[in-house]
């Protein structure tokens, strides 16, 4: 699935991710945590990878394995999370920042979030959601 870098697609993305989770028997109580984690990463891809340019796309792909779902979120840029943010929103004076909590939240809600590159050298974030 590919989406333009436009905030208007976030709600459809949220609904699609929950539908994927439901089809993989993610517990109902956990569906919103799953969708929050993925939507946070999609928003980061839009902002940091694609500079919120609606002509640039974010690609979300997934695989359902017997014990986990793997999501891959690809954008059209090359960026690193620590450099993109430049501060730690969960510490000290930065605690009251109005932005910058997306990756922190995704990493805490999901069991595994890793930043890497696509074969073409673009940023790819991989999120693993275990199935119990």
């Amino acid at each position: 699935m590919s989406f333009p870098s436009d905030a208007s697609v976030l709600e459809p993305v949220q609904q699609i991710i929950e539908a994927i989770g439901r089809s993989a028997d993610v517990e109902e109580d956990e569906l919103s945590s799953l969708s929050v984690a993925v939507v946070e990463l999609v928003k980061n891809a839009m902002e940091h990878g694609n500079q919120n340019d609606p002509d640039k796309m974010v690609k979300v792909s997934f695989n359902i394995f017997p014990n986990r779902i793997r999501f891959m979120i690809d954008d059209e840029g090359t960026w690193e999370p620590e450099k993109a943010l430049g501060f730690n929103p969960g510490e000290g004076d930065e605690l009251l920042s109005t932005r910058g909590r997306g990756i922190l939240i995704a990493r805490n809600l999901a069991k595994w979030v890793e930043f890497g590159l696509t074969p073409e050298g673009r940023t790819r974030v991989t999120l693993i959601w275990p199935l119990t």
């Binding site: 949220q14 919103s32 945590s33 939507v39 946070e40 605690l95 009251l96 997306g102």
Partner: protein, 113 residues
């Protein structure tokens, strides 16, 4: 997302409902907090009990409201944060910033006279 405002005594109770997701509607939320300050209302209680989904964008506007009110000498407190929202407050350590309540009357009383 829907926003409902109601004065209870000298406290402005703002209730969000539905999904608090990124987008232009969050600008309206920020304006709600600023309008409260502009009108001299420094005590704001934010009821999140009917929020079905929220992410970091929602947290961002709540922090913005906190900053707006604090700088004006006021306070923003949280009512009825769901289990999922409470989890976000803990992950981001915002739980250390905000007073949260599950009982509206207790929350209203906490502002004092």
């Amino acid at each position: 997302m829907k926003i409902k405002e109601e004065m209870k005594g000298d406290v402005l109770v703002i209730a969000f409902s539905g999904k608090v997701i990124g987008g232009p509607e969050l600008v309206e939320v920020k304006e709600t907090f600023q309008r409260a300050v502009d009108q001299g209302c420094m005590k704001v209680l934010l009821d999140l009990g009917k929020v079905s989904w929220m992410d970091s964008s929602g947290l961002g506007v709540i922090v913005s409201g906190h900053t707006t009110l604090s700088r004006a000498g006021g306070a923003l407190k949280i009512l009825n944060a769901t289990k999922k929202i409470q989890e976000l407050f803990i992950i981001t350590k915002l739980i250390t910033i905000f007073e949260t309540y599950t009982d509206e009357q207790e929350a209203l009383d906490s502002f004092g006279a």
